[in-house]
Amino acid sequence: MDRIREINSRQLTWLVSVMITAGGLMSLPKSLIEVASLDAWVSEIGGVLYGGMIAFVLYQLAMRFPGKNLFEIARELWGPVIGGLINGLMLLYLWTILLRDARVFTDFIITLLLPRTPSDIVLYLLIMLVIYYGRSSIEVTARVNDFVFPAFGFLLAALPLMLANELSFQRVEPMLGHGALPVIGSNFLTIGWFGDVIIAGCFLNTIRNAKVIYHSLRHAVVLSAALLSIILFMIISVLGSKIAGRILFNTYSLVEQIHITDFLDRMELLVFSVWIPAYILKTCFIFIAFMHGCTSFFQSRDHAPITRMSGWFLMLTTLLSFDSLSETFNFSNFGAIAIALVLHPLILVPLIIRAYRHKPKKKALEPPDEVHYGSRRKQPKQAGSLLRNMLHQRTLRSWRITSNALLGTAVALIIVGVLFGPMHSIVGTTCSLGFGFCLLFAVLTTHMERLTVVNEAFQRKMRRKKNKQSDGAA
């Protein structure tokens, strides 16, 4: 049970994406629209910058301590007492996130889908599932997510098409016409959700190459931001900001508006049959991280013996934690930001201070032993497509610069938009649309970053293997 478990970069990306997006879908849109009204859909860039910063910190740690997760790094850097305290804070953070997610899920189900079912029973079933996944490893969750995330992402990305007959651009205008403060406020709120990227730190040991971790996390953050921006844009353009700001689960109301034909007017059942498994996987992912944290105190990676009891602990504390739906919403949207901004520095700053005394290990930049993506790496060169060849000829550095430039442009466009948008509506509209395009292109460029870093690692490994073979022959 103590063997090293590995997932590949795509699986890490999709797990982190599902963690941010599925959580953000349920309760975040309401609060963002309450704060920023029409401009809520440009709220994700604050979260992207914060998530990117956490990804960079995790990269620095992974480079110095290859094959170790955040809990093990804390123990190694600060010893059992202070390291244990840092791990305790991380566990507290994970527990609060689990409470939030389990309660939001239960409230969502009993409010909209199963109003006659007691909330306790819904929670009990969720916990049973979480325990089932929790007893296995992160590999199992990652592989199930390989099935769920493509459908989940496709349904989110296809929303503009499915709701084309319902959306009205007039409901989104004037874009960026209310000044800087609403946009700053809503961007601040998304930090609470995108800060969940820190959970990937609990699985640093599952990918050995630090660069692969960094670029996977960058892509996950940008992809989640793009998906959440699409859904926020659709909510505002279909429901209008006033109605959307008052509906608790406005995502559900949005999906209810899908009427493709007379026969497909209950699309919400189909859509939620994909979204709910995605949400459950997100909860499982965090629960496994929580288990890793618990077992870190015994310097073990086998969490099977305590999984069941931890599941019941989570269920009973969730029932004790909130009295009403408004408490849950206050906690998940407004309390989460405070928790993230207090706990993240307390966890990461001590680690970074000590970690900088250690030199980056060469081993952390080596390719992983088990390459899941080997067969696909050769395809780009063989494919005759001009675009593909053009995309694959660029180096990692150039992709990174392009992504950073796109994200920088997105920030600059928002700044210009909020400054001049209230006076000239055309400026606000142009800057908003420019922001949207920058974010969508950044999804492509960060994806290419991830592919390039994996490709480079693979080619390095092949070269080394060839050299070894030629040395042996000589």
Binding site: S310, N330, G335, I337
Partner: protein, 79 residues
């Protein structure tokens, strides 16, 4: 907590103890102690819920004080 749910949870708890007993015996002393502490906490939470003993959870404190404070900081912004 309804009585049906209380029974369900109690059965699950006892069954978990029964199933985990052999596994926990194979672990080190620290893990065994942790398990005992965890199961005692679960039992305490169950009793608090069953007898409806009022407790203030940290999450409720965050919801009722920190949450509204952050909201009040941001709400005037959105109008």
């Amino acid at each position: 907590m309804s009585s049906l749910f209380a029974v369900l949870v109690l059965i699950s708890y006892v069954y978990t103890l029964y199933r985990d007993y052999a596994l926990i015996q194979q672990q080190g002393q620290a893990m065994r102690r942790f398990y005992v502490g965890l199961s005692a906490t679960v039992l305490a939470c169950y009793l608090v819920l069953y007898f409806k003993i009022p407790v203030l959870m940290p999450s409720q404190w965050v919801s009722n004080t920190v949450g509204p404070y952050v909201f009040s900081l941001l709400r005037p912004v959105g109008g």
